[in-house]
């Protein structure tokens, strides 16, 4: 893979919002207190501390990006959790305090982050703080109990306690990350939490099981457990990284596919990109979950792809100005192109029905004949999918406003669309659009 030259560089010290600052401050306080405590008491079992510190640093070097701009360091966090959960190493009792676990974990993380900083990849401090807090929670609960007779003599008790602590740590990470995303992307907390858990589940399960395995294996294998265990964990991570990589490439290909209409002069430059950004923002506002948001993004990027089959571009590329019959044909042709790219789920369906009135075709015609009939509360089963309705609204808005960011013009466009919510546009989508557009105007001012 060539390096990503075209990706806009993240600032070295990105602007943070209050939630992130609070999180980082909390982690900082815990860390400072732990370092002070460890410094006064001295480091116990220093060979073990060094081994785990190296493993955590190694894991931090190999951290990976998961779909949806998430950062994860599975090997590092598995090592840190295992360190917090140790009972014996090679038959000898471990006397490590919770504070020491936190200190070693933090040192490992910072050392592991240095190579990333050296090549100009900024550290995502909030995500590191989240990981440190999760490890701290487990360490504070478990370390005081680790030496007790109940734990060392009852294998089953130790096992169930450790399992529940690992689950707690993973849950805590999901909650903290979801809270960050709520603030960053204006998603709803419940939606963000479910998405977070869904994305983290596979890797989280592997991390948790690995942490337990390392902690138990160290009893007989000693520190060799770390070396033996790193190999399979590394492979799991390589598979994950490649999966995330090809997923990114796939999105880039879809973007390229979308850009084709612009280069061919069928639509105004930037139209597909703007419609997709707007549609995703509206979808998030409506509480749509991440997998469907991704489909929405794909569909919005490719919503005009059917125009390629036209002999000559529509003047200005504004499909809203084309005859309804032609609009429908474009949508059908587009859906055909997308169906060729088989695995896109319901994307083709979303594109095919992007022009349909939200209450379904028959209902809409009746609606035009007798305006008095009260519209149903929600679209019937004949109505197009939510994604199509959002794209219809976002597309119409962009055709009216274009790349202009003028708040008055945007407000006028929203008003114009709102007039047509009896049958054409989904009122919910238009209201969400209006909120997104208002917010955008405020930021602009």
């Amino acid at each position: 893979m060539g390096e990503r030259r075209h990706e806009p560089r993240r600032p070295f010290w990105p602007v943070r919002n209050s939630g992130q600052l609070l999180l980082i401050a909390a982690a900082g306080v815990v860390l400072v207190a732990s370092v002070a405590q460890t410094a006064t008491e001295g480091v116990q079992d220093d060979r073990i501390a060094v081994a785990f510190g190296v493993l955590i640093a190694f894991g931090e070097v190999l951290r990976l990006n998961l779909p949806g701009d998430r950062e994860s360091a599975p090997i590092g966090i598995a090592g840190a959790l295992a360190y917090a959960l140790l009972i014996q190493v090679g038959g000898e009792q471990v006397h490590t305090s919770a504070e020491q676990v936190i200190t070693i974990t933090a040192i490992g993380m910072i050392v592991g982050a240095l190579p990333h900083l050296a090549v100009g990849r900024p550290a995502k401090v909030s995500s590191m703080a989240t990981r440190l807090l999760c490890v701290a929670a487990v360490a504070f609960i478990y370390r005081p109990l680790a030496g007790s007779r109940a734990i060392t003599s009852h294998w089953g008790l130790a096992f169930s306690l450790m399992t529940s602590l690992v689950l707690l740590a993973l849950l805590l990470e999901a909650v903290l990350t979801a809270l960050m995303r709520v603030e960053e992307q204006r998603a709803r907390f419940k939606v963000a939490l479910v998405d977070e858990m869904r994305v983290q589940l596979p890797l989280g399960a592997a991390v948790g099981a690995s942490a337990l395995l390392i902690a138990f294996a160290a009893e007989t294998m000693g520190l060799a457990a770390l070396a033996v265990f790193t190999a399979p964990l590394l492979l799991t991570q390589v598979a994950f990284r490649r999966y995330a990589g090809i997923r990114a490439t796939y999105l880039q290909t879809v973007r390229a596919l979308a850009k084709v209409t612009e280069i061919g002069g069928y639509v105004e430059p930037g139209h597909s990109e703007r419609v997709s950004k707007l549609a995703v923002a509206v979808g998030r506002e409506l509480g749509i979950h991440e997998p469907e948001l991704l489909e929405l993004e794909y569909a919005a990027l490719m919503h005009d792809i059917g125009q390629l089959s036209l002999h000559d571009p529509i003047p200005g590329g504004a499909t809203v100005l084309a005859a309804p019959h032609d609009q429908q044909r474009i949508a059908e042709l587009g859906a055909e192109v997308i169906e060729k790219a088989q695995v896109l789920g319901s994307v083709a369906e979303i594109v095919r029905r992007q022009n349909e009135p939200y209450r379904g075709i028959e209902v809409a015609h009746e609606g035009r004949r007798g305006r008095h009939a009260a519209p149903p509360a929600s679209a019937g089963p004949s109505g197009p999918p939510m994604g199509s309705r959002i794209i219809k609204a976002a597309n119409a808005f962009d055709d009216l406003v274009g790349s202009s960011l003028d708040p008055d013009r945007s407000a006028a466009a929203v008003e114009q669309l709102r007039l047509d919510t009896v049958s054409e546009y989904d009122p919910d989508a238009i209201e969400a659009l209006s909120r997104v557009v208002n917010r955008r105007s405020v930021i602009q001012l």
Binding site: H6, G90, A209, T249, Q252, T253, I263, G265, K340, A341
Partner: protein, 466 residues
């Protein structure tokens, strides 16, 4: 696997008989030994049932070496062979009876060899204790390597005997099997872990190990799925090009295949072969930036129209630039109309200045164009097209790649577009192919100061710089 050749039958038979002899000969252990064999056998069946299908349909990757390697440590060579033989009971639906029997024999044999290697390297068979570490790691690593090598060696043999010889294109690439060996070795470490945890957590060890294995398996499955999705997306991009220009139906695909043939012939690395495959698929994507009316125009082109056609490699670059591609593929797309003598477009590069990918694409591109039907001429026979390639090797094409392509065609043949389908489906609008070295594509108005047009008798004088 309905019809097996006799060497394949002989090979499978030999492996199965060898495994059976080992299993019957023993020696076997006591009751506790049998219990461990049974548990590990069940574990192997579980692993085997969750095998992931890899791209060539017959080949599946399963984490079963974990169970056999644990058996190597816990119950020794014969026990490991017994565990390996449990493969036949896998609940996977795919394999036929012959495949099941062969897989069992193969795994039993490689487990036995791994067990022998383990003891030969002074590994102690039985439950590892605190004192066994780290000394046991060395013998275990030896056993894992022997297991992986014998397993993949035996598997490679049967693949080669059953379908490798007839269809060389469908052979699993060497890069892929190296990757499989490495992943087997890595996951093999779980085997040692199961053995080490056996006396701490008992049966929980295999259960705990199953989780990361399942996750890894999930990731591999996702990877395969995403690769498929990616290919489909690239396919859709090609399809979009071909809706614009009906004459080039299947062209991208064939150019891709031709470029891969050349790349393999000159011994290119697997990763670069993949890149050139995509480069071939997408080489004409820039045509989307050329107005349809120019692409399908009959007769001579005006200067502006010709300029629009000459721009298509640049447009292609604009479209695919942001795909996380090898940079080489991008360079190939951009320069596939350059000529060795420097009279190509868009930059007029000459000789070695032209990127390697572009020189390869140029050969496959021109060849496919010549062997396909065009409105103004029929498809040329392969021999004639080869002669033309040779004729222009050194002026338009890089001689090394022409030679490589010709010898690849001589060996594997060339699957051209079906002329019948074209004649029926296509509109009677004659349009000119810009890729066709012999097409009468010519600019009407040339700038006054350039040299006079080339002699008309020369069919190759086409796309030169105005």
């Amino acid at each position: 696997m309905a019809r097996l050749s006799w060497p394949a039958r002989l090979y499978i038979g030999a492996i199965v008989v060898a495994a059976a002899v080992l299993l019957i000969r023993g020696p076997f252990g006591d009751l506790a030994w049998w219990r461990e064999v049974a548990v590990l056998g069940v574990l192997l069946v579980v692993f085997e049932s969750t095998a992931t299908l890899l791209r060539p349909k017959e080949l599946a990757w399963s984490p079963s070496p974990i169970a056999t390697l644990a058996a190597v440590v816990l119950v020794g060579p014969v026990g490991a062979a017994l565990v390996g033989a449990c493969t036949a009971f896998g609940l996977r639906r795919g394999p036929s009876a012959v495949q099941r029997v062969f897989n069992s024999g193969m795994l039993a044999l490689s487990a036995y060899l791994a067990g022998e290697a383990f003891t030969a390297a002074h590994g102690h068979v039985g439950m590892p204790m605190s004192g066994s570490f780290p000394g046991i790691i060395g013998p275990f690593a030896v056993a894992a390597v022997v297991h992986a090598v014998s397993n993949h060696g035996l598997l490679g043999g049967v693949l080669w005997l059953t379908n490798g010889r007839e269809a060389p294109g469908r052979r699993t690439s060497p890069g892929m099997s190296v990757e499989l060996v490495v992943s087997d070795l890595g996951y093999g470490a779980f085997g040692l872990l199961i053995a080490a945890l056996w006396n701490v957590t008992g049966l929980f060890a295999p259960v705990l190990v199953l989780i990361p294995v399942a996750v890894a398996r999930w990731a591999v499955a996702q990877l395969v799925e995403q690769q498929r999705a990616y290919q489909a997306a690239v396919g859709a991009l090609c399809q979009a090009v071909e809706t614009k220009d009906l004459y080039t139906r299947g062209h991208s695909d064939r150019v891709s295949r031709g470029s891969v043939m050349i790349a393999r012939e000159i011994g290119m690395r697997g990763e670069r072969v993949e890149a050139i495959r995509y480069a071939g698929m997408l080489h004409d994507v820039g045509k989307l930036g050329v107005p349809t009316r120019v692409l399908q125009k009959t007769g001579k082109l005006t200067e502006e129209e010709y300029a629009a056609i000459q721009l298509h490699p640049m447009r292609g670059l604009d479209i695919v630039r942001e795909i996380g591609f090898l940079d080489e593929a991008l360079a190939g797309i951009m320069h596939h109309h350059e000529r060795i003598d420097g009279r190509g477009y868009p930059m007029g590069l000459a000789g070695d200045e032209i990127p390697e990918f572009a020189r390869i694409l140029a050969v496959a591109d021109a060849f496919d164009s010549m062997t396909s039907t065009r409105s103004y001429r029929g498809a040329r026979p392969v021999e004639e097209a080869v002669a033309e390639l040779r004729k222009w090797s050194g002026t338009q094409f890089d001689p090394a790649f022409v030679d490589a392509f010709v010898s690849a065609i001589m060996r594997e043949g060339w699957q051209r577009s079906e002329p019948g389908a074209h004649a029926r489906d296509l509109p009677a609008v004659p349009s000119l192919d810009h890729d066709d070295p012999g097409s009468p594509l010519r600019v009407i108005a040339r700038p006054r100061h350039t040299e006079p047009a080339e002699p008309k008798s020369d069919p190759w004088s086409s796309p030169s710089r105005p």
